[in-house]
Symmetry: C2
Subunit: 302 residues, 2 copies
């Protein structure tokens, strides 16, 4: 893995499926290439938005191999590798590391709850010790609404202290700005990404590293522009514009809504498919979403 600290706008890439609900590698590669072309600094494939928790270990490995084979540089990819099962997390993290990826975004094990801090510490430590290489860049993934397992600041301090070369950052998808703020005040050099571009300006003001945001699937140029030019009054108005677009999308179930917009932008209804337990938006909801987006001035990239 590269040692340079990651910064910028990373896209947790949507995963397209074919009619048999199998991952569609061809559309996935095209979308990844397009996102990089639009200015994304990296691809956080296999996150919550990518329906990665509905994919098997083998499916994730095959999709990553397909991206690499298509020529997407591994140093621009930070895959999600955290699973409920410790052995699956080790398998995926090792694969990402050996593939030369920029980092691994690791969920805590998310079935057993509540768990003690010591148990979470051992979960992350076991993965890091198994790979045992200072080049492994671990980004912790804090997303209590889905994982049900929050990562408390005390745990993070302990991991950073014991694995300073490995535990280099975190994605905060709690939706609670105070968490990011406290974390950056406690660990000023920690690579903290906000989980939504709604907090991008706040994140950068607090000396965070940027955002890993689902909306980059549909609005990357505007979000990347804010990342580059966030200071001053122009930054405030840019933030307001992208926030309005995010709010319009997240009135609907987010993953399905983003797939709806991609399908509409590309005129390709194959993008509407989601894997259970998700269900696509109804035609009425799709229409309402697209109308809401038009009202807040959304224009498709390219």
């Amino acid at each position: 893995m590269v040692s340079a600290k990651l910064r910028g706008v990373f896209c947790p890439v949507l995963t397209p499926f074919d009619e048999q609900l199998r991952p569609d590698a061809s559309r996935f590669i095209e979308h990844c290439e397009s996102l990089l072309h639009q200015g994304c600094h990296g691809l956080a494939v296999f996150g919550t938005t990518g329906e990665a928790n509905s994919l098997s270990v083998k499916e994730r490995i095959q999709l990553l191999e397909a991206l690499l084979k298509a020529g997407i540089p591994p140093e621009l990819i930070a895959p999600g590798t955290g699973c409920a099962a410790l052995t699956d997390t080790i398998t995926l993290t090792r694969h990402a590391f050996q593939s030369g990826c920029a980092g691994a975004l690791i969920l805590p094990p998310y079935y057993y709850k509540p768990v003690e801090e010591e148990g979470l510490y051992r979960s992350f430590a076991t993965v890091i010790e198994d790979i045992s290489d200072n080049g492994l860049n671990v980004y912790l993934y804090h997303i209590p609404p889905f994982s049900g397992v929050p990562l408390e600041i005390g745990l993070i301090k302990r991991l950073v202290k014991d694995f300073p070369h490995n535990v280099v950052g975190l994605k905060d998808s709690s939706g609670v700005w105070a968490y990011t703020d406290t974390l950056l005040k406690t660990l000023p050099d920690f690579g903290v990404f906000s989980g939504s571009e709604v907090f991008l300006r706040d994140n950068l003001l607090a000396k965070g590293c940027g955002t890993i945001t689902a909306s980059a699937n549909i609005n990357a140029p505007a979000i990347c522009s804010l990342f580059e030019h966030w200071e001053g009054s122009n930054g405030i108005s840019k933030q307001a514009e992208i926030t309005a677009i995010r709010r319009a999308v997240q009135k609907f179930p987010l993953i399905q809504a983003l797939k709806t917009v991609v399908a509409d932008n590309l005129k390709d209804d194959a993008w509407l498919t989601v894997r259970p337990p998700l269900v696509p938006l109804t035609p009425i909801a799709r229409k309402s979403l697209l109308e809401s987006l038009a009202k807040v001035g959304y224009t498709p990239p390219n």
Copy 2:
């Protein structure tokens, strides 16, 4: 799979690990053989208690193969096969079915939440349709404290209506008796197991099928005796005795507490090992647990 309706006391078997945190097939087989010898009507391997959600698909398949190779009859085994990822659930359910197991105990996909009833319906339906054989016995696994995804009665009615040969029962680990009661009143022929022996007598009074209970790992003879002789005043006192033992154990984290008791009964500390994110009980907690059990009259099986 066998078509006879399952009834009785099923043990969600604890999974032993070696020092490298690998599943210990040899101790697992011995424990399964002992549980059947103690009177358990079946083995619900790879449940929550079995730390199955900390095991990879491959580890589960290898352990099941080891049980079968050791001569444990598949018609006495109902493995847990529900994972976060649809494809993993299909792989494990198909393996259990093709191995001739009595049934498959299936968790809902437990990462994405909240999800619509339609999404849960499609999750279960996709697994059933993929296997597409009336001999597949599906037991739904209702355990909101861990899954975060409750199975509402409306969903169950719909699944039973559309897959009457396949969706034959449910394990209720909600801890809410009203759920079992409502379910049995709504679907009188449904094979409902309580998730704790605390509700065994109530379950049988309401014409349920018995219990799939973690405590069977340490107290199977007494629980099985209640199942056989639950009617009348003798049943009431038997229920009180086993309930007191359960309450003493569940003052502690349940899985670790049960492993502590097995380790003590067998004089084999290897049984204390748990896989992260769980952590073993402290020596003080272990002592306190064993003293509490002695006070309520617990005696080890055999």
